[in-house]
Symmetry: C3
Subunit: 368 residues, 3 copies
């Protein structure tokens, strides 16, 4: 690779447009290894190891040196070294090393994880909040009075300081079926049923649709979990093509399709088809490790270059907050150097696209 492009990619300060907090409480090895598996919701089988995955190999390749260990160090040594540090100490190592200027944090996950202040302190970077709509729904269900009014009030209040909203509709029935805005009476009836049932873990389709359409009315980007996730989600019901009718009526609110694997080519098509649709590479880049390069190549097909965003979607081990950045930089460097080497792109264009995807597009979309 030409060194100017490599240097440029190494130096760009990223906006991580979708991330979660790192763990605050110490993990045992089993929890750590499970943290390297995205899809499985059970403890890993005895014969298995979270280290024997692309992500596990990537941790040993890229994270070990930051802990003073050789690249590709054996899992046991990695675990022992990691265990000498607290999760907060690990965060203080890995977050600053990511070269991220802004972390946009989805705060809707439960558990003992870092919030905005910890993320800012550990990294020395700016933070912004992403409000999860299904959490707003639970808050509205727990509020007195009309559900729709409560939802709108809470969403409005929380979004004053937030940079975006997010929906996990993918996990709550998927994208197929009617996603139009429900009418007032249907919302009231569904809310009454849900409140009567306890108001936990929203799966009611009417209320999910209501939330998404309320979010469209805010002047903030709306993020959709798409594709890769754990097995509670029916992966094939999260093909973003199933959002087509919804996108046709979504107006000008930016819609960010997150993760997208294995539908990144479909997501790229949608990013070309709609002025307000964006494609993100988070989660996938981490879990694909050495194959992140192939994934990044596929995201650079139909999606216009002003419509692609960087994120890590890191959650839990602080390694992931760094690794997303390391793998994205390595993958972009390999893919773009190939374009340049074959005369398809100029080096100057390659650098400009790195700037757009790494931070420029996100700065524009999220007004950072």
């Amino acid at each position: 690779m030409t060194s100017a492009l490599a240097d440029h990619i190494a130096g760009v300060r990223l906006v991580d447009n979708h991330v979660h907090g790192y763990w605050l409480a110490a993990a045992d090895r089993r929890r750590f290894e499970n943290g390297l598996n995205e899809a499985n919701i059970e403890p890993l089988a005895d014969f298995d190891s979270g280290f024997d995955t692309q992500l596990g190999f990537a941790v040993r390749a890229h994270c070990a040196p930051l802990l003073g260990l050789p690249e590709h160090v054996d899992p046991q040594s990695y675990w022992e070294r990691r265990s000498q540090l607290t999760e907060s100490q690990l965060a203080a190592v890995f977050l600053p090393a990511a070269g991220v200027s802004d972390w946009l944090v989805d705060t809707g996950l439960p558990g003992e994880i870092a919030g905005l202040p910890e993320m800012a302190a550990a990294s020395g970077s700016a933070v912004g909040e992403i409000v999860r709509l299904e959490q707003v729904a639970e808050q509205a269900a727990a509020s007195p009075g009309d559900y729709a009014d409560a939802f709108r009030r809470i969403l409005f209040e929380r979004s004053k300081t937030a940079v975006a909203t997010k929906t996990v509709l993918a996990y709550r029935g998927g994208f197929d079926g009617d996603l139009s805005a429900p009418d007032t009476r249907a919302v009231a009836e569904a809310a009454a049923r849900w409140r009567a049932a306890g108001g936990v873990r929203l799966t009611d389709r009417t209320l999910l649709r209501f939330g998404v359409h309320e979010a469209l009315r805010l002047d903030k980007p709306l993020q959709f979990h798409v594709g890769l996730g754990d097995r509670d989600c029916d992966l094939h019901r999260t093909n973003p093509m199933l959002l087509l009718d919804f996108l046709r009526q979504s107006g000008t609110t930016p819609i960010v399709l997150l993760h997208c694997y294995p539908y990144e080519r479909e997501a790229g098509y949608l990013a070309q088809a709609f002025n307000n649709v964006y494609l993100d590479v988070g989660l996938s880049v981490n879990h694909l490790g050495a194959r992140a390069e192939a994934f990044i190549g596929r995201t650079l097909e139909l999606a216009p270059f002003r419509k692609i965003l960087y994120s890590s979607d890191a959650f839990g081990p602080a390694e992931l907050h760094y690794l997303g950045s390391a793998l994205w930089r390595a993958g972009m460097a390999a893919v773009l150097a190939g374009f340049v080497r074959r005369g398809q792109w100029s080096e100057a264009d390659a650098m400009r696209v790195v700037d757009l995807i790494g931070r420029g597009n996100a700065a524009r979309v999220y007004a950072r």
Copy 2:
């Protein structure tokens, strides 16, 4: 790459088995940039540019030198130089440079675009017509007397001098559902309803099915738009696997699956599964630019080498008529050189496959 293979690929005279006319009227910059976006049917957003896509980069890389500009010239300079020429002058530059001996032109698109005589004159090459079935249907609806009779008569007349037929069923409801031949009474009833409604933009399923089955009865190849297109088409309803039942009853008429992205692997499977099914790479190759190589690689998986065809599917800017050829040649050269370098293919075989895909298969199928 070995130079013998590279030279061979550079020299092969192509049959472009699916293309449209170039623009006749001058385009403003907005129209030109929109012409570089396939999927979006709205004007590009103010923050966006058609130049910041794989296709836009490819135009600057490959077309600029033909206008006397350096490779990768900046968009503004490209636009200014392009604006100094009429669209017909541009066609006279780009069409001959494509190295195409035969343009098979789908004449079913409206607008001020080149017809067969202009295409022949600008390129100095042979031309053939592809008759769009949905246009024949509109002509039949506007004719007196029985619809089915009129359709058959017009199709027969037009196909005398045409080389193939084409359907855009993909845009008129997609491939899922019954695609068997409708009975006479159902056709008559549907035609009466459609004529009563004005006979424009055919979406009636019965009449669409009727047209396709009439085309099967001609002794000419039948082309299907598959996959990539604009967002009026439900991309996921154009997965060619949904044609499976239809293909099982399609007999021996050659069926050409056009474009195919992101379903090129499924299309390749069908090309292996049915003696009469073919795979085409048009449109996709242009819009994927530097990634056309990856796409071409995927088309060389299950599809037998005697069942793959070249096309550009160019429409509008004359650059696209050239670029399809340039990107196909570059992509084939890179992919096949890789096969040869790793000892998987001989160089002689690689050259022979280039000849088959570039022209031999089309010459056989379309009797050129």
Copy 3:
């Protein structure tokens, strides 16, 4: 490639975890060329040749030298040389050359093909049987007394010496729809209907479901044909994501997803999501030839490295028993050398993953 890794890959003794017998009776050229096409169930068209496919090119590249011919020899010479040997002589050339220590043979295919003793004799290696559930069903239909009892008794008897079971549900309606265990009365009624209809080629959904759930209760791996096959199978109904609900209730019995093309990324996701799900590369590797490398790369995305298995799925020409191994070794060598070269994997890890996929995982799963 570093020579240590290349040497290691060349030397590993494989467990071929899903294969069929080679032909015993001499084939004419037409039959041989059809044997190089998986999907087509008709004789190849006169204009076509089974040699003009990735598999055909791979036969000439990799198998010709074992018959004393140059690499990439012309098809006619290959055919003439091959015709000088009996199928058993060919097996004695190609099977030992595969470097396979254990052949796990699906004996459920009809025809004059090698059984376990011939496979063992020709190769000098160990063999194990895989029992096809739909064959057990036919045997139960032909047995006196209660169908469910007969099925269980036959399955139990046959599985005593077998290493696994297999279902071709993919060919008998596909994966969509209810795959839960049917109740006793429904099974009895369906069996009565099927027996009355002759008890051939099971397509009754209730009995197919019954068979699969009975297999789950054995302490043996259960293999599913997934994806690529002939056109009798509706490819899009064999997307393994459609097995999601079934997998959620499948307990701890190992489920092996065979072939998987073009759904290998979905299969990899499932192998990560479920402790008992495995991914196999057979059939696809042979038919993709020079593109097997790309396919192998895609299988190394989400699937944990302890969940991927080697097979050839060879059937018919003895070349295929060797070629699966040759293409897998070449593809793994290219993909893993790339990971090592870019610093993503260590060479030692690459060797270890080769051992896991080539034999270690299968030895564990099938207790070899």
